[in-house]
């Protein structure tokens, strides 16, 4: 399992309680468009991921994140830095 896959798996886990519509999660699932995550729910997700990987995610990455895959890529960059 690559680092990216491990991050994706963790994101799916973190998204489970926020995925009210039980939408099938893929890399292309949009956080706002498909999952309807507002800024508060997105912050909940980020806090989960931050603790899970012992990292801090800068707020400036958020405008570049549309899908679960986008977020996984950003986290991969931080983890590997």
């Amino acid at each position: 399992m690559t680092e990216y896959d491990r991050i994706l798996a963790d994101l799916y886990k973190g998204l489970t309680p926020l995925n009210k519509g039980n939408i099938a999660l893929t890399e292309n699932t949009e956080l706002l468009g498909d999952l309807d995550l507002d800024s508060l729910k997105t912050m909940e997700l980020l806090l989960f991921v931050e603790d899970s990987f012992d990292i801090s995610i800068p707020v400036s990455i958020l405008p570049d994140v549309k899908t679960i895959g986008d977020l996984a890529l950003q986290i991969e960059k931080i983890v590997s830095a």
Binding site: S39, L40, M43, L47, D54, S56, I57, P58, V59, S60
Partner: protein, 392 residues
């Protein structure tokens, strides 16, 4: 995609408000009678959402000082201090603010928003890290964005989470700027400054405290939460505003760091804007003098806050924080909060309506702000209006 298509979401939200017949973001105050009273929609209304904590907007000494400055120095400075020069009053106010906070020097900005924007954008560049409380004001977020610093939020009022994030930064922690507020504007809760200072002492870094809602309110001399906790010397930068306790408009930052003066040369929101009008500087200087010699105003403000907090609590309302000049009532549901706010207005009480996403934890808030100028009878009238709605 047109230029205005980005506003589609706002347009539909506005239509929803129109359908309900309520627009809390477009209240017209037909006449201001005093710091605590006005005429709205033809009704005599108690103003309990002004942030006019000490009620100094109508103080005769401040008005007289402004009038004198207006007559002798004119209506405006017509430019930036860097380009057009500094009037003596602007510099004197800086020295007075520095002395008031026991700090070496101060910079005055044209608004409180610009004080945060100007300080943070200049202090924290692309190679720096800012750790800010998640509930910090938009001006703090905007300042960080403008400077291009790596900006990381920590959980609201959670010193342990701050420590965890400083640990993750490793060697970079010592150059990190930590930003918190004295009293948070939405719920009226205080920062755990003692614990935050302890974390800063352990990991290093610099501390900026925005005392916009606590200056004039807390501390024996009214400096704010840092003074109340005996921590004034632990803050590297203290930011404040003239538009709350001092009853004017403008902002400032005080610091012991001699480099503060260099900020003037690096801060675009300081350089590229007109300095405050002389009358504003004059009334602010006078209000600061009044604040310093009037501890009874802080006592009255505290008494009024406790009276309102106790009254609403006894009615069974869920309140955001222990007593402070900001008393926030949690209301379930956006539409319910809108209707509640409108009913209060119809009962002659003006407060603030705060809706998500501007609020912490996605709650809807009826936010009251108390003034030293409120009479106990006015506070009772506000409580009575809330009581009517409780049983409606």
């Amino acid at each position: 995609m047109g230029l205005f298509s980005k506003f589609d979401g706002l347009a539909s939200s506005r239509l929803e408000l129109d359908a309900l017949g309520i627009n809390p973001f477009d209240v017209k105050i037909d006449k201001i009678i005093s710091p605590t009273e006005g005429i709205i929609e033809g009704r005599h209304t108690i103003l309990a959402g002004t942030n006019n904590y000490l009620g100094l907007t109508f103080h005769p000494d401040s008005i007289a000082a402004a009038r004198t400055a207006l007559e002798h120095e004119g209506t405006g400075t017509t430019g930036s201090r860097m380009a057009n020069g500094s009037y003596s009053g602007h510099r004197l106010l800086e020295l007075e603010l520095a002395a008031f906070h026991n700090k070496r020097d101060a910079i005055v900005f044209s608004t409180g928003y610009q004080a945060n924007l100007g300080m943070l954008s200049a202090l924290a560049g692309p190679d720096d890290v800012v750790l800010l409380d998640a509930d910090c004001h938009a001006s703090i977020y905007d300042g960080c964005r403008m400077g291009g610093a790596e900006t990381i939020r920590f959980r609201h009022n959670n010193a342990e989470d701050l420590a965890k994030r400083l640990r993750r930064l490793g060697d970079r922690a010592t150059n990190t700027l930590i930003v918190v507020e004295g009293i948070y504007s939405m719920l009226g809760d205080r920062a755990p400054l003692k614990e935050i200072v302890d974390v800063k002492r352990e990991y290093g870094g610099y501390l900026m405290v925005d005392e916009a809602h606590s200056m004039g309110v807390l501390g024996e001399r009214g400096c704010g939460l840092l003074e109340e906790l005996g921590l004034l010397a632990d803050a590297d930068f203290i930011v404040g505003t003239f538009s709350k306790s001092l009853g004017g408009a403008g902002g400032y930052c005080v610091s012991d760091h001699p480099e503060l003066n260099l900020i003037r040369y690096a801060s675009r929101p300081y350089i590229f804007t007109a300095s405050p009008a002389p009358a504003m500087i004059a009334s602010t200087r006078q209000s600061l003098r009044t604040l310093e010699k009037s501890p009874h105003l802080r006592q009255r403000l505290h008494d009024n806050a406790v009276q309102l907090h106790t009254g609403l609590s006894n009615l069974g309302y869920t309140l955001g924080a222990p007593p402070s000049p900001v008393v926030a009532v949690v209301v379930e549901g956006k539409v319910e909060a809108l209707q509640f706010w409108q009913k209060l207005l119809h009962l002659g009480v003006y407060v603030n309506l705060m809706l998500p996403p501007a609020t912490p934890n996605g709650v809807s808030l009826i936010r009251c702000s108390v003034s030293a100028a409120h009479t106990p009878t006015q506070i009772d009238a506000v409580i009575a209006a809330f009581a009517k709605l409780r049983h409606a």
